[in-house]
């Protein structure tokens, strides 16, 4: 452990740490562009100069390129180093265009920050600025090459970290150009990270182009709901519209990045078709009226078809708070069936996977990244959890062989991340025993319970990809409370009424069901067919908890106030309802945003429980789950096994 002194502060760091990282550890941040914790250093930007006063190297050095060594005495405030940094930033700015007001990066731009930090204000160089032509990089990413400062972060991420092959660096001298060989959409499923990783505005989010500035965003720590991996995100909203999603660092889960599905799937939250009011038989109603109607109809149903003809259905996308209250609701309603999964297979496969995992054998994405042999069993990671593929690539870059097992593991996924994988037919053929740290990754979409059970015998840690962000939590609760799948319940012929809480149910299962009530925020088929609809909030509009595929409970915070987005607000909410809606927000005052009277699913369930005479509490998590109440949304999350004891 080398010990060195930086600005009179003594610091001890592990061997191999650079001086830049050592300085960061004691809170000294030196401007830097090319260094990124996930990508390492290349010494390309020349900005992180420090003066080495004593020790094995002396003089002005790039701190990101010098490993910390014993006896080093380093100064960041030395005049010579500060001068060097101010000249470098001035030189980086000579060709940078004068377009911050029309650049989406403005306000969240590292170049802006470090230009100010370097003390550069007025351009002294009077020569002309170099310009480039831009490329069209598809529907998600905007390219503006004039802003480039040649830090090489984008190609290093795209080619080395993510294994993309269609974005590279071309040209020489002052013509260095980062882009594709020709115009076209970026092929990598992780291309959206270029937006986060570019220190200036070369790559910006096209879906949120010109919509808001960083200081205006409604932001909160959140968790991605688009697969079971539970990557940490920061959604950003403005004027009740979810504009974009950024990656949030969590070293135990996603690391620094997220996939394009998680980043660019913001539109469902802003969908004008979303249920915004409680509905009874297609008619808008108040909450109390809808609750009364629902309970009356359920009473009627029980009288007609007898007790136990009702099924209460949850899902893998319903947050843990709502899922945990379902058994109580089912009990009070006298429901015969409590279902956490819709179709038989998915429920069984998830249940098998969840019962297989325990605190010792469940592999997180961090474990996958550190693994030395990976077998992907009956799983298309691009479909079931793209970030797992990025984790697999990091292991492969460190020399771990990657095996694709079974006919449902297509080679395309390996190609998408430029991984050289070997296809084999059976897991038994994989020489997992030869390695110290092997991981088996298994899907639940095209697998079978028997195949998943076999993983327990493999001498490796296991990562299962599940259907939905809280599928793990749903499966745990299903096991504890004896839940069945809806398909099995319907097959008994007893189900005459369904209460679907954020559940996607195929239309066939709804046939012959007399009463369908849907609590949902998505305009699903069930919502369209339901007799009674109670609108719930999306995950960005509430606090909640998801338990990801490795049993890690993670808290997400409310990002935005629910309500119809100001953009495209219908005429009837404006001052003159008979005229076409103007561009500007309404010129009338309201106490609450239009279409904003939504409640989180757990709150709707709790309100129902209260009406049924159950005990009302403000804390949906009780019993064993009580330990999750104070979960830190910015922490690494808690494995579900750690709270049991």
């Amino acid at each position: 452990m080398p010990k060195l002194i930086i600005d009179n502060i003594e610091v001890e760091v592990p061997a191999g740490t650079t001086v830049l990282e050592a300085a960061k550890k004691v809170g000294i941040v030196i401007p830097h562009f090319c260094y990124h914790p996930a990508l390492g250093s290349v010494g390309a930007c020349r900005l992180c100069a420090m003066k080495f006063l004593e020790g094995p190297v002396k003089g002005i050095q790039m701190s990101c390129m010098v490993p910390a060594q014993d006896g080093m005495v380093v100064s960041t405030t030395d005049d010579e180093a500060a001068k060097m940094r101010s000249l470098v930033i001035e030189w980086l700015m000579t060709n940078h265009p004068h377009d911050c007001p029309v650049c989406d990066e403005g306000g969240e731009c590292l170049l802006q920050d470090f230009t100010v930090a370097g003390g550069h204000g007025i351009r002294r160089y009077r020569g002309k600025k170099r310009t480039f032509l831009n490329q069209c990089l598809g529907d998600y990413i905007e390219h503006e090459m004039n802003r480039c400062i040649e830090c090489y972060r984008c190609v290093r991420f795209y080619q080395e970290f993510a294994g993309g092959s269609d974005l590279g660096v071309m040209g020489s001298a002052a013509r260095v150009y980062f882009g594709r060989f020709e115009d076209g959409a970026l092929a990598s499923p992780f291309s959206g990270n270029l937006v986060d990783i570019c220190p200036t505005g070369v790559y910006t989010d096209k879906t949120a182009r010109f919509r808001a500035r960083y200081w205006d965003y409604d932001m909160a720590p959140s968790v991605c709901p688009h697969c079971s991996l539970g990557c940490n995100t920061i959604p950003a909203a403005r004027y009740r519209e979810l504009l974009k999603t950024m990656a949030r660092r969590n070293d135990a889960v996603n690391g620094w990045f997220i996939c394009d599905r998680g980043r660019f799937s913001n539109s469902p939250v802003n969908d004008p078709e979303r249920p915004r009011h409680p509905m009874i038989e297609g008619r808008e109603a108040g909450w109390d009226e809808a609750f009364d109607a629902l309970l009356f109809r359920i009473g009627e149903l029980c009288e007609l078809h007898g007790e136990g003809s009702l099924a209460v259905v949850g899902s893998g996308r319903l947050a843990l708070e709502g899922s945990a209250l379902l058994p109580q609701l089912a009990g009070l309603l006298g429901a015969g069936f409590l279902c956490y999964f819709t179709d038989d297979g998915a429920g069984d496969r998830t249940a098998t996977a969840v019962s297989l995992l325990n605190t010792d054998n469940a592999a997180s994405m961090a474990d996958v990244r550190a693994s030395d042999c990976i077998a992907i069993v009956d799983c298309d990671l691009l479909e079931e959890g793209p970030m797992m593929l990025l984790a697999v690539r990091q292991a492969w870059r460190n020399g771990a062989p990657v095996l694709l097992v079974g006919e449902h593991s297509p080679l395309e996924q390996a190609k998408a991340a430029s991984i050289e994988a070997v296809q084999i037919s059976f897991l038994e053929e994989a020489p997992l025993g030869l390695f110290e740290n092997p991981v088996v990754i298994c899907g639940t979409k095209n697998s079978s319970p028997a195949a998943i059970e076999k993983l327990a015998r493999a001498e490796a840690r296991v990562a299962c990809l599940l259907p939905g962000p809280n599928a793990f939590g749903a499966a745990l609760l299903a096991r504890e409370h004896g839940g069945t799948s809806l398909a099995a319940a319907v097959a008994t012929g007893k189900v005459k009424g369904i209460v679907a809480v954020e559940a996607d149910i195929p239309v066939e299962l709804l046939e012959g069901v007399a009463l369908v009530a849907a609590f949902d925020w998505l305009p699903t088929e069930v919502v369209k067919k339901a007799d009674i609809v109670l609108p719930t909030t999306a995950w960005t509009e509430m606090d909640g908890t998801f338990v990801n595929n490795e049993g890690r409970a993670q808290r997400f915070r409310k990002v935005m106030t629910p309500g119809l987005p100001i953009k495209g607000l219908p005429e009837r909410y404006h001052a003159s309802a008979d005229k076409p809606a103007p561009f500007h927000p309404p010129r009338v005052h309201r106490k609450e945003p239009p279409g904003g009277d939504l409640r989180p699913a757990w709150r709707v369930i709790m309100d129902l429980i209260e009406r049924l005479g159950g005990e009302k509490t403000e804390e949906p998590l009780s019993g064993k789950l009580e330990a999750l109440r104070d979960l830190d949304p910015e922490g690494e999350g808690v494995r579900i096994w750690e709270i049991d004891g």
Binding site: P97, K128, K129, T131, N146, R175, W215, P582
Partner: protein
């Protein structure tokens, strides 16, 4: 002697009033008579146009960020040729304190203060000015400045066609 000091104080008061009867008043008979403020007087805010007649405002959100009372709001949008503009722009003059920080923050000289101080309305919503109420047809101060002639993003001129820019380079060229 309280009687003496009281009389003195009384007479002094009357004497001061008497003196002021013959002075010129500092007030004027507004609204019959109006003062012309200095050109840099800070009153009603306008949005100006560039010398080519285009809207100067690029909706960069800097004025709304600078505004200490949060009376400015807007939404940026993009035209087909890539020009960024304000889809809507709203200043709530019932909140504005006329501090001028917005005009100071404006990087395109779009938002400017005028000497027009007569903003009174009976209805408070009438003090909420929309873009059509704010946009004037002239340049105001800095009549020569057009942001897009310096921005380097190819809206007014083609890319690399502004006076301080080189034409676009060919990254595939092998010339040194």
């Amino acid at each position: 002697m309280p009687l003496l000091t009281d009389t003195k104080a009384l007479l002094l008061g009357f004497w001061t009033t008497w003196k002021h009867i013959f002075r010129r008043p500092v007030t004027i008979e507004y609204p019959d008579e109006k003062r012309v403020p200095y050109p840099r007087f800070r009153a009603r805010i306008v949005l100006t146009r560039d010398p080519d007649g285009g809207e100067r405002c690029v909706a960069c959100y800097l004025c709304s960020a600078a505004c200490p009372v949060d009376c400015i709001s807007m939404q940026a949008a993009e035209t087909d040729n890539g020009r960024r503009f304000a889809a809507w722009f709203r200043i709530n003059f019932s909140r504005c304190i006329f501090c001028g920080l917005c005009a100071e923050a404006c990087p395109t000289m779009a938002i400017q203060m005028t000497p027009d101080y007569e903003i009174c309305k009976r209805e408070i919503m009438d003090l909420v000015y929309e873009k059509e109420d704010l946009l004037i047809s002239g340049c105001g101060k800095d009549p020569e400045y057009n942001f897009y002639r310096h921005a380097g993003i190819g809206v007014v001129n083609r890319r690399g066609g502004n006076p301080d820019e080189e034409p676009p380079v060919d990254p595939r060229s092998l010339m040194p």
